[in-house]
């Protein structure tokens, strides 16, 4: 039977992971697909899994009473959806809405946490990889906070007119 191991090995999140760890991680993985317009998870629900996207597009949203759903960010193939599985209280902070039909590998959070506790080298490796994603998302958020295409509060243009 074909396993998900080669698929996981090819995904950027697990690229270069030792084969023995890959084998352990594969035990927590399952193949999933979602139709456009559906929600993979909703804000406040238990974050039992996270997703390695293989195809499609997912929007991270938050709901505001006056504005409806606001898209925070979109995720596409090769990217990782969700880190709430790793930190208590293991609940989603945002909702994941499928924008385009999506194929992904779902990883069971409790299963991975248990394997990481059993083997701290694996746990450390996972933490390094998740931390890298957190850092990249934080940097991207900081750039967006700069509002580089707009005007500063004083009205001064922060961006050349060219």
């Amino acid at each position: 039977m074909q396993t998900l191991e080669p698929v996981l090995a090819e995904h950027p999140f697990f690229k270069g992971l030792k084969p023995e760890y890959l084998s352990l991680v594969t035990g927590c993985a399952s193949n999933v697909r979602f139709e456009a317009g559906t929600y993979i998870f909703r804000e406040g629900e238990d974050a039992t899994r996270f997703y390695l996207l293989r195809q499609g597009k997912v929007a991270l949203e938050i709901f505001a009473a006056q504005q409806g759903s606001i898209t925070i960010e979109t995720m596409e193939a090769g990217e990782v959806l969700g880190w709430s599985w790793l930190f208590p209280p293991y609940q989603w902070h945002f909702s994941g809405r499928v924008v385009e039909p999506t194929r992904a590998i779902a990883l069971d959070g409790a299963c991975l946490r248990a394997k990481g506790e059993e083997d701290h080298d694996l746990g450390y490796e996972l933490m390094k990889r998740v931390s890298l994603i957190l850092m990249e998302r934080l940097q991207a958020t900081r750039i967006r906070l700069l509002d580089i295409y707009g005007k500063s509060p004083g009205g001064k243009v922060t961006y050349p007119s060219r």
């Binding site: 898209t71 990217e79 940097q139 509002d147 580089i148 961006y159 060219r162």
Partner: protein, 279 residues
């Protein structure tokens, strides 16, 4: 007294043929020489000094097709005294034009390689001429990728052309916005996040980047992270250009003048200057 018409300090009289509002604050001017003569040949990425009589003169990149010189096309944003006055121009009004000036995008160097065009906000304007060139000489390039980021969907420049470029099967067009409302079905996030998604061979790519300076820094860093050498990354800088011929010194940038040695620089040559407080 006769005036040497080729003197780069003497503006030529152009007539406004058409003015088009692109997005809020941003408009495109189409100009033709008053005397019906030819428009000087320009290269992608070069700029002209546009002079509103009695108000002032500003540098603006040429955003038209270098193979189709008439009319002369400039897109700019109404942010200062001169550009605001420019937005008030009407067809048949006169404007002074000096140029073209400066260095150009390395479209010849990119031949035979993948080409990545990364633009932020109105930074797409100086790169539109590259898009025109690549489309009309498509066989000379490998993968052709446009990465474009804007603040919101309503701030996307040249929207109809973007849609048209998306229909080209041999162009990879990626568009993202920093903020979106519910009706937007495209990507949300910063333009740097598009780099990992784009199909190009980093070892055989020339990248051209234009936008706010911070955007260019982070984009170049991300391209480097993907494996593109700094010698293969080009950025278009903007400083306070006045004379446009390297005499007045207003646009001095380290050992270079942006008007004469730029605005297009090889990233590796100026990387160290971008984080200096004073150069």
């Amino acid at each position: 007294m006769t005036i040497d018409q080729r003197d780069p300090m003497v503006p030529q009289r152009y007539r406004v043929q058409h003015i088009r509002n692109e997005i809020p604050d941003t408009f495109t001017l189409e100009l033709v020489p008053e005397d019906g003569g030819d428009i000087p040949q320009f290269a992608t990425g070069q700029f002209n000094m546009l002079y509103i009589f009695g108000v002032g003169e500003i540098p603006i990149s040429i955003s038209g097709d270098p193979a189709r010189r008439k009319p002369l096309v400039h897109t700019t944003r109404a942010v200062g005294t001169v550009s605001r006055a420019m937005r008030e121009l009407k067809p048949d009004d006169m404007i002074g034009v000096r140029g073209p000036f400066g260095s150009h995008w390395p479209i010849e160097r990119a031949e035979g390689k993948d080409i990545v065009i990364a633009a932020g906000g109105i930074g797409l304007a100086p790169l539109r001429s590259v898009m025109y060139h690549v489309i009309s000489h498509r066989e000379k390039y490998g993968n052709a990728v446009l990465l474009y980021g804007a603040r919101t969907p309503t701030d996307l420049l040249y929207r109809r052309e973007l849609q048209h470029w998306r229909t080209h099967f041999d162009l990879d067009v990626y568009v993202t916005v920093d903020r979106a409302t519910g009706s937007w079905r495209g990507s949300v996030g910063v333009v740097t996040q598009l780099i990992s998604r784009a199909p190009f061979d980093p070892q055989n790519t020339v990248a051209m980047v234009c936008g706010p300076e911070i955007m260019m820094r982070f984009t170049a860093a991300e391209l480097e992270k993907r494996g593109v050498a700094t010698k293969d990354i080009y950025v278009s800088m903007e400083r306070n250009m006045k004379c446009a011929v390297g005499l007045c010194g207003h646009c001095q940038f380290g050992p270079s003048f942006v008007c004469k040695d730029g605005p297009v620089f090889q990233y590796g040559q100026i990387k160290g200057l971008l984080t200096k407080w004073e150069v």
